[in-house]
Amino acid sequence: MTLPPLDLRLLRPELIVAVGAMALMLWGARGGQDGAVRWAALVVLAAALWEVLALGAAGEGAGAMYVRDGLTVVLQSTALLAALVASALGGRYVERAALEAGEFHALVLVAALGAMVMAASRDLIMLFLGLETLSIPLYVLAAFARADLRSQEAGMKYFLLGAFSTAFFLYGIALVFGSSGSTALGAVAAAPPSLLLRVGTGLLLVGLAFKAAIVPFHAWAPDVYEGAPLPVTAYMAVIAKVGAFAALLRVVPAVLGASRNEWIPVLGALSVITMVVGNFAALLQTGIKRLLAYSGIAHAGFMLIGISAGTAEGAGAVAFYLVAYALMTLGAFGVILMVERGGEEADQVADLTGLAWRSPPLAAAMAVFMVSLAGLPPTAGFMAKFYVFTAALDAGQTALAITGVLTSVVSAYFYLRVAYTMFTGEPRPAVVFVGGRWVTAALIFSTAGVLALGVFPAPLTAFVRQVAQVLR
């Protein structure tokens, strides 16, 4: 067997990120200054983003295993955007906690690379490569605070459960290959339905549901989010979601081909229980990291509505949702990164008490993120939900849309409570501001993004509708 010729020009964004990651790792190990390393990481990511946009929908490569189409452009931009914001957010924390800046930024880049590969996969093997490239750096990052037992525990937990899910995914690939004779998504779509194919598809979905933290495969998320260092949690919450939903957007239309009516109700049911469990469990949280973990689960449920719609419109809605989710979640974590309680992470909701009167802009930003997470206008979160609900109703999935809006109301309760906490009471004396320029810049960017997508959603809407050209 000869390998197909590889057109490296198509892979420029991935190559930039991969080479950049290796260079940063080496530079950091050779004593590169933390600030300079962070600058370099941002430049690499920005260059890759530029390339993604410049290349556009350029075609396919690697023997049709890899494709650069509208969906790729949208999802890779989202992944790179998330990595950019997360790098800016994380830098100062990494320096403060005396972590290895070179390794941190290199791992962030590699995880982004994994999500990018997943977004561009048209073959299960390629998808698996991307999934592993995404996951392994995240396991390491979760355990990145070597001196902190909680971080160690989080890393171990994430690794064990993640390894299981990867195994499910791999086993699913094997069964799908066994029944259809191919790992190419196009060929899988055309394969006649069989029991083996169904089981294989089910296992694939289980693997991805783990990554996306979809109920009932979500149990790891709150513990891992809580234990991992804050900037890692922020990044993980977003990039894992981008990768997993990129894969779902690629896989689901393919496997739905023959047995659409069997899988749509399954996805719909997963979506409903994910929204219900995520939003109701978040009601009980007092820790901000756990709250945002359940919030992340709930939002996976909302995004799954778009997947369950099984239409191009639904796919576009999911892409829009991912961008909105990335900005508002990173922003919310960014606000927490601005403060510290007695030299530790200010990870309790109560730590935010009264901070509005010490820093009104910070509280205003948090209010914007919380309003957006709750899905109230005029924010990105509202438009995102509006699009997925529209897609659901368009596909006749009224029950999904109704569950979605009602659980959104529930979510308003705990999100607004966080914002309200900032405006009321006396600040805790142990809580101090430790932000810095980079976190501030990332916060301004996220706030502006969340508001801009809420008030002027037209450009991004048109951008994500590109995916409609890809999916039928």
């Binding site: 009104p360 109301v409 308003a412 309760y413 607004l416 809407t461």
Partner: protein
């Protein structure tokens, strides 16, 4: 027309908020005057629109239409007609009054309070002027956020609970309305050829029946919670009692009208068949609200709670008027929205004036205020008589038209609702007597400063309007007539509207 007047009106307060945000928080005087100027400018624009408004046509005026999200069929479409014009004027009037009233009561975090109020005005005006369902929804829901903070941060002791209850109640209603909005959009594609959220286009849809009833239900729930229609009113007393005076004034005068405005603007024209089907139910709920609100008001010992519960009764009239589906009923309903804004807004301002001086709202603590504050007593008398609907005041015209419409729809409605008129006299006079007459109460200090200056400026426009509308209601009725006729013709295509009697 060069300047888009409606957009100017909507975004003037927001621009004011941006200016205030840039000011130093310690310069409270500058902040207050800047905000007041922005709100007064908006009022000037609103008046300009009213003056240029052409009566006698049901068409939308000053229309602005631009693509907003072309890919999703959402447009930035604004317009004003006889239904929205009175409410726009009411909003533009109440905002400066609310700001002015807060000068004496809100002393902490003035900057944030002022910004919240101005953002609230933008959202409210946008709600009344939007002709695209998504745009409407965005403004409608955006109202919640500043109001949440106004109640939650500057409110009374149980403010956190009241603010959350307010937002959860209303958000539940609007959530289902969002589904209905999208369902309309999806359905419009199959009927109109192109999908649209445009209200004007959607009014031409004749929806099939089960769907129409469902969508009516979703919209009606959202509006009925906002109004609030009995039995969905339980958020209202808490929100009113805990909110600061300015918050209560705006809540009563304007926010509740969002619901009743929704009846006239969306429910009746979009779902005429379902409206006919459910009109007896809605009218009955309105009547129950009139009586229930009146009786419960009578039993209150807290002045603010009393005024809050009286809103349930008054808005019962508005609901009843809208669902008589007659020209008189609808006109009365619209007029009563404005009247309730003026009189109940005024009552909350009066309670605020007293509370600023005594820090008590308990009726038992009061007595003999009339001897100490004679000028205040005069103002209070006029506002109360207007709230009772005494002839010569604005309240009479509205209630009379509603009862007339109710009588034509079903005499039983009118008979029961008339009981509400009596009840309102009972609880208001009872309150007046306890506060104003008798021996001086325990909470009343020996020297009670008389209202003057700023506080007088608060009440003068309200008093002027009470008599102006009471004696010359045609200024408003003439402008709304054509739009109301169009709604009634849409709902009751068979019925020939008869000549309207003018009191």
């Amino acid at each position: 027309m060069s300047l888009p007047l409606l957009s100017t009106l909507i975004f003037l307060p927001l621009a004011g908020a941006a200016v205030v945000a840039a000011l130093d928080r310690r310069r409270e005087g500058t902040i207050r005057w800047t905000a007041l100027c922005a709100a007064l400018l908006a009022l000037a624009v609103a008046v300009l629109i009213a003056v240029r408004f052409a009566a006698g046509t049901a068409a939308m005026q000053f229309e602005e239409r631009r693509a907003w999200v072309a890919a999703a069929g959402i447009a930035y479409h604004l317009g004003v007609d006889g239904v929205s014009l009175p409410l726009v004027l009411l909003t533009a009037l109440m905002l400066p009054l609310g700001l002015l009233s807060s000068w004496g009561s809100v002393t902490e975090r003035v900057k944030e309070f002022t910004i919240s109020m101005l953002v609230l005005e933008t959202a409210l005006l946008g709600t009344f002027l939007s002709l695209d369902l998504v745009l409407f929804y965005v403004f409608w829901d955006a109202v919640l956020i500043p109001m949440y903070f106004i109640i939650g941060l500057w409110g009374g002791p149980r403010r956190a609970y009241a603010a959350l209850k307010f937002i959860l109640y209303t958000a539940t209603g609007s959530a289902l309305m969002l589904i209905a909005v999208i369902a309309l959009y999806v359905h419009s594609g199959t009927v109109l050829g192109a999908r649209t959220f445009d209200l004007i286009a959607l009014r031409a849809l004749d929806l099939p029946m089960p769907l129409q009833a469902w969508l009516f239900g979703a919209f009606a729930l959202a509006f009925a919670i906002k109004v609030p229609v009995w039995p969905l009113h339980t958020w209202l007393p808490d929100a009113h009692v805990e909110a600061p005076t300015a918050g209560s004034v705006l809540l009563a005068a304007v926010l509740l009208k969002m619901g009743t405005y929704g009846f006239l603007r969306f429910l009746l024209p979009l779902f005429p068949e379902a409206a006919r089907l459910f009109a007896p139910l809605m009218a009955t709920l309105g009547v129950i609200g009139i009586l229930y609100g009146g009786i419960v008001s009578w039993a209150q010992r807290d002045m603010k709670r009393l005024v809050a519960m009286s809103s349930v009764s008054h808005l019962g009239f508005v609901t009843l008027g809208a669902f008589t589906l007659t020209v008189e009923g609808l006109q009365g309903s619209l007029l009563q929205m404005v009247n309730h804004g003026i009189s109940t807004g005024g009552l909350f301002l009066l309670v605020g004036v007293l509370y600023d001086r005594t820090h008590s709202r308990r009726l038992d603590d009061y007595g003999g205020v009339a001897t100490l504050m004679p000028r205040f007593a005069v103002v209070a008398t006029i506002v109360m008589l207007s709230s009772m609907g005494l002839p010569g005041t604005n309240g009479f015209v509205g209630e009379f038209l509603i009862l007339l419409g109710a009588f034509r729809a079903n005499p039983a409605y009118a008979a029961w609702a008339a009981g509400g008129v009596v009840l309102s006299a009972v609880y208001l006079l009872w309150m007046y007597q306890r506060v104003m007459h008798g021996p001086v109460g325990s909470a009343v200090p020996a020297r009670l400063p008389e209202i003057g200056g700023r506080e007088l400026v608060l009440f003068l426009p309200l008093l002027a309007l009470i008599f102006w509308i009471g004696l010359y209601p045609n200024a408003l009725l003439r402008r709304s007539e054509a739009s109301i006729l169009a709604i009634v013709e849409r709902v009751q295509p068979a019925a020939r509207p008869v000549a309207r009697e003018r009191p």
